[in-house]
């Protein structure tokens, strides 16, 4: 089988597994919704800057929870089975694609809920949407690779946070700046630098992941 069919089958497998149990999606959705609600109950009225920061903190932890499932939850036996039938490149691409899809759905739902509950809408909504989409893209590419490393190292959640946070902080800084621009309704030409920066980081992370994952996968 060539690469694209392998990727297609693996993504289909991930989606099917998710659809049968609906565990990751529902669990993380419940997490996001309850966190937003707790924040609303404790803040009630809120500055727009705090609103933005809260959204990104919630998304950060939601994405760690959602994406870390991709490798950490699978058993060693299943890893071995996939190792025998698929190439590592196909595996990392399919996991990343699946995580991007999952995060996109999550982000859209979380953002709309966040806006409805707090009753705040950013001035430049399309730009804000673009920023959140780029955010979910970067979260999934970075955390997929980090979760692969953490799962191979063998002690899950704790290591995931330690390894992931320093890598994700630069992305978060750029994201918060971009979304701040969108909230203030600044002219879009101001924000293209940040958009380009995020795309460059994503391409960089994907390239490095593709290069390194085959070494990681071979035990």
């Amino acid at each position: 089988m060539n690469l694209s069919t392998q990727v297609k089958h693996l993504v289909k497998k991930e989606l099917l597994l998710e659809w049968r149990s609906k565990y990751a999606l529902n669990g993380v959705l419940l997490y996001v919704v309850s966190t937003v609600f707790v924040c609303f109950l404790s803040f009630v009225s809120i500055e727009i800057i705090t609103w933005n920061a809260l959204f990104w903190i919630i998304m950060l932890f939601a994405s760690i929870n959602a994406v870390s499932k991709s490798f950490l939850q699978e058993s060693k036996g299943r890893h071995l089975y996939i190792y025998t039938i698929a190439s590592p490149i196909a595996l990392i691409i399919s996991k990343t694609v699946y995580n991007v899809l999952l995060m996109l759905v999550l982000t859209i739902i979380a953002l709309s809920f966040h806006m409805v509950v707090f009753g705040r809408v950013p001035q430049d909504l399309p730009m804000y949407l673009l920023a959140t989409l780029l955010g979910s893209l970067s979260f999934s590419t970075i955390f997929t690779m980090i979760s692969a490393i953490a799962s191979k190292a063998g002690n899950g959640g704790m290591l995931m946070a330690i390894l992931g946070f320093p890598v994700i902080i630069p992305v978060l800084v750029v994201l918060i700046k971009l979304t701040k621009n969108a909230i203030d309704g600044l002219d879009r030409s101001v924000s293209w630098d940040e958009v380009g920066m995020l795309l460059v980081i994503n391409v960089l992370v994907m390239a490095v992941s593709l290069l390194l994952f085959p070494y990681l996968w071979r035990d």
Partner: protein, 219 residues
């Protein structure tokens, strides 16, 4: 002896730059005054750190291609020395900031991102401690090291250029080159950089040799 010329050169350059750095004339500038002498100590630390981290990545790549445990030892020891250089860079920077910007931690982008870049390498060291099995530890930490390096480059060289900084050469502040790094300072600054890089590399080779002797004795 002829192989050790660079060690002697490094030591001589560091001694020269320290003595000349404290005693030679410097241009009298507002705000900076005599603290401009810190240039000879603060900036070489960062150059040294980057060189050492590059050495470490080089050895991590070598390790992935031929699985020789020596390369793993080299990678971790150069990170150890690089982290010490980074901490010294932050401390000298904080002292300098205390006298020129008013506060030791002025929430400057470069300060923040340098601290995060160090966090990346602390995460690398924590990851190493989390895995017991030697071969596995070497492989996974090499992969994380290569994964973290582009992020460090983004943190230290790309992101600070996107926002304003109190450092010279950022956000409208003129760089040192433009008016105040006159030829007298250059004559000390460049030897200082080269000297500290060589001394850092020397410390790394000594640490590596001690470590490999310890390891071989145990077997």
């Amino acid at each position: 002896m002829y192989k050790n010329w660079w060690k002697i050169l490094g030591a001589l350059l560091v001694i020269y730059s320290t003595i000349a750095g404290f005693l030679s004339d410097v241009p009298m500038l507002p705000i900076l005054h005599e603290s401009i002498r810190n240039l000879y100590f603060h900036v070489p630390m960062w150059f040294g750190m980057i060189v050492l981290f590059s050495v470490s990545v080089y050895h991590s790549i070598k390790f992935l291609s031929n699985s020789n445990p020596e390369h793993d030892l080299k990678a971790v020891e150069s990170v150890n020395v690089g982290v010490v250089y980074g901490i010294l860079g932050i401390v000298t920077g904080a002292i300098w900031a205390k006298f020129t910007w008013g506060q030791a931690w002025s929430f400057d982008v470069k300060q923040n991102f340098a601290a995060i870049a160090l966090l990346l390498y602390f995460a690398y060291l924590v990851l190493r401690n989390a895995i017991d099995e030697e071969q596995k530890r070497a492989k996974i930490s090499a992969i994380y090291n290569i994964f973290a390096f582009p992020m460090m480059v983004v943190l230290l060289f790309v992101l600070p250029r996107l926002s304003d900084s109190l450092h010279p050469g950022n956000g409208g502040n003129p760089g040192f080159n433009s008016y105040d790094l006159d030829s007298r300072m250059r004559a000390i600054f460049y030897p200082a950089c080269l000297g500290w890089i060589l001394v850092g590399y020397w410390i790394y080779t000594i640490l590596y040799r001690v470590r490999s002797l310890e390891k071989n004795n145990n077997i």
